[in-house]
């Protein structure tokens, strides 16, 4: 490479520096270049190692859940209620049903609101108000779930004097709303304008166009967004601990405490009994399987439909 003085010299300076053939540069460069090249290789290895670490840690965690959880699984685990310590057998059936029930009620409470807001943002709002709503949705999405738990606990549990399934469902709904609203708005924005114009040009009013053309076109994306939110809600623990509390018995009365899988895992895990720890791993395996099945089911349900996927 050229030494400093030459580089700064006048316009007619030849480019190759004294003593070094141009071709030598092409071939291997100087010692400093060999260092640069080695450093580049080291950094490539380092970022690859980061990736390997991130991927490995996931499979380690999943592997533990699988290996430690499998021994807990038998028929009774899926059909019976949890037994007090010392009694043989027992299962997490109330927790599985409770989780599904809570998510369903949460959907009933939260989805209409979230979808309406998403339609408003995508189809009607173009001004500051829409930006404000988007901003608030982002803030809600960033709210720690324990804060949602405290809110619902204060609002419902303390006021009614009882932990209840309803309180849990409300908490889950609040967690789902921003997720659904955001994904659905994004999906509706992907529906090409030409589809709306084609319908409007036929004299179909805007609201019918949205209901009959826009929403059906975005169907698969909307389903994906909803399932995403359901999966997220299904794994929530802290807000449920503060609202539904958990229950060892079957209960479908929304005004009573209700069992939920994540809460069951927590109760099993913090107890001092080895048998319960195994049950905690087993429940964790069931929870992961449920969440996984939910998303696989969606992928299957919306297969072949391009819009809004991935």
């Amino acid at each position: 490479m050229q030494s400093g003085n030459e580089t700064a010299a006048q316009l007619a300076t030849p480019k190759a520096s004294p003593g070094v053939s141009r071709h030598a540069i092409l071939l291997q460069g100087d010692s400093r270049y060999r260092f640069r090249k080695a450093f580049s290789g080291i950094m490539a290895a380092a970022v690859a190692a980061c990736t390997v670490f991130g991927v490995t840690i996931l499979w380690i965690i999943l592997g533990y859940v699988l290996v430690r959880g499998l021994p807990a699984l038998d028929l009774a685990f899926f059909t019976e209620r949890p037994m007090p310590y010392g009694e043989v057998g027992g299962g997490v059936a109330p927790a599985i049903l409770g989780s599904l029930y809570l998510i369903a009620v949460a959907c009933v409470i939260g989805l209409p609101l979230a979808v309406l807001a998403a339609i408003y943002l995508s189809e009607y709002s173009h001004g500051r108000f829409g930006d404000a709503v988007r901003f608030v949705i982002d803030l809600l999405a960033g709210l720690p779930s324990i804060v949602v738990g405290v809110f619902v606990w204060t609002l419902i549990v303390i006021n009614t004097g009882s932990f209840s399934g309803l309180a849990g469902a409300v908490a889950l709904a609040i967690i789902m709303i921003p997720i659904v609203a955001r994904t659905v708005e994004a999906i509706l924005n992907l529906v090409p304008n030409s589809m709306r114009e084609a319908s409007l040009a036929l004299g179909v009013p805007m609201w019918k166009t949205i209901l009959r053309v826009v929403l059906p076109a975005a169907k698969s994306g909307i389903i994906t967004g909803v399932v995403l939110a359901m999966a997220r809600a299904g794994g929530e623990t802290a807000p449920l601990l503060m609202t539904t509390l958990g229950n060892s018995f079957f209960n479908f009365d929304l005004m009573q405490p209700m069992a939920a899988l994540p809460v069951q895992i927590y109760n099993y895990a913090v107890a001092p009994y080895a048998d319960w720890h195994t049950k905690a791993w087993g429940s964790a395996l069931v929870l992961i399987a449920l969440i996984g099945a939910l998303s696989l089911l969606t992928r299957w349900a919306v297969r072949g439909q391009k819009l809004g996927e991935s």
């Binding site: 991927v55 709503v133 803030l139 720690p144 405290v150 709303i177 805007m206």
Partner: protein, 332 residues
């Protein structure tokens, strides 16, 4: 016209809309009501928490609540500073451990990974993000905790303990249920968040920037360092801060490993601690007086304010890079 007409469409279409105006006005009104309800929801959350916190602030004043470390429900002294300390320290540990790994992995995926490897890795990251916090907690209690206690913490103590100042961080008996373990599990939990957003941000760096640096004779890493990272810097910072926001509010996994024992601040990472979230989760059922109840709600309020500030900061940084592109692709 302005009350119902959509911005889209030609003037002829607007005439049609007017003809069917009533249905449209009702429908738009309904959707707008949904949007307003969401605004109201956040307002209600904030106002209710504020209102229900009033007892504690009346009881001892906001300064004593925020800046003292004595949390003694029996004597009705409620200082949350130790909880704030535990929250911040464990989250910062998580952030410091996770960010380099997450950004490195994001760089690998965008800049190095062969095409066939991209989607399996991205899928794995999505999975990692989808695992519920309780399962991280379970794993941390039974697997990570013992590893920390018997291997990592004694190792750190042996090698860094004798060093002045740094050694203070590693004082005490390794128990595996402490601030450091909480920080490590937080790092694992926020890894996918930071990685996924960093990947998005790095993918937004135009190829012309890469070409420009390559054409000057840069090695691959020099290209990344000189062209990609500076361009993506704000977005990567946003990704890290969003990860921080998630760590600050994380409850279950932290509650299960942080020890929930001490309210004193010793400076050692081997000390059990409390975070704001874990204090709430552990104590809400013990609240036997109005003041105690109100103190717990006030913790949630403090957490909410911190989370909001951090979230807003993160989103400003990310939008400055990614938001522009996604907004311009928006229809209408």
């Amino acid at each position: 016209m302005q009350q119902s007409a959509p911005v889209r469409g030609s003037s002829r279409i607007r005439l049609d809309v007017d003809a069917a105006g009533r249905g449209d006005r009702i429908f738009e009104g309904a959707t707008k009501a949904g949007a307003i309800a969401i605004l109201a929801l956040l307002a209600i959350i904030i106002l209710l928490l504020l209102f229900e916190s009033r007892n504690i602030f009346g009881h001892q004043g906001i300064g004593q609540f925020l800046f003292t470390t004595t949390w003694d429900p029996v004597f009705r002294e409620f200082g949350v500073f130790a909880f704030i300390y535990g929250t911040v320290i464990s989250s910062v540990i998580g952030l410091l451990l996770a960010t380099p790994v997450a950004v490195g992995a994001a760089i690998y995926i965008v800049e190095y990974a062969p095409r066939w490897l991209r989607s399996p890795v991205s899928f794995t990251v999505e999975l990692l993000a989808a695992i519920p916090s309780i399962i991280y907690g379970l794993w941390a209690v039974f697997i990570l905790g013992p590893v920390m206690r018997f291997h990592i913490e004694p190792f750190l103590q042996t090698w860094f303990g004798p060093i002045p100042i740094v050694g203070n961080l590693f004082e005490g008996t390794p128990i595996g249920r402490d601030i450091l373990t909480a920080g490590v599990i937080l790092a694992i939990m926020i890894l996918p968040t930071i990685m996924a957003i960093s990947r998005e941000v790095i993918m937004q760096v135009p190829d012309t920037q890469r070409d420009g640096m390559h054409a000057l004779g840069a090695t691959k890493w020099e290209m990344i360092q000189g062209a990609v990272i500076p361009y993506a810097r704000a977005g990567i910072a946003g990704a890290a801060i969003l990860g921080l926001a998630r760590a600050l509010g994380e409850t279950m996994a932290v509650t299960m490993v942080i020890g929930n024992a001490s309210t004193s601040i010793t400076g050692s990472l081997f000390e059990p601690g409390y975070t704001m979230a874990s204090a709430i989760a552990n104590q809400f059922r013990e609240a036997d007086s109005q003041v105690y109840l109100s103190a717990i709600i006030a913790i949630a309020l403090v957490l909410l304010v911190i989370a909001m500030i951090v979230n807003i900061l993160a989103r400003i940084l990310i939008y400055s890079l990614v938001g522009k592109q996604s907004n311009s692709s928006r229809i209408g």
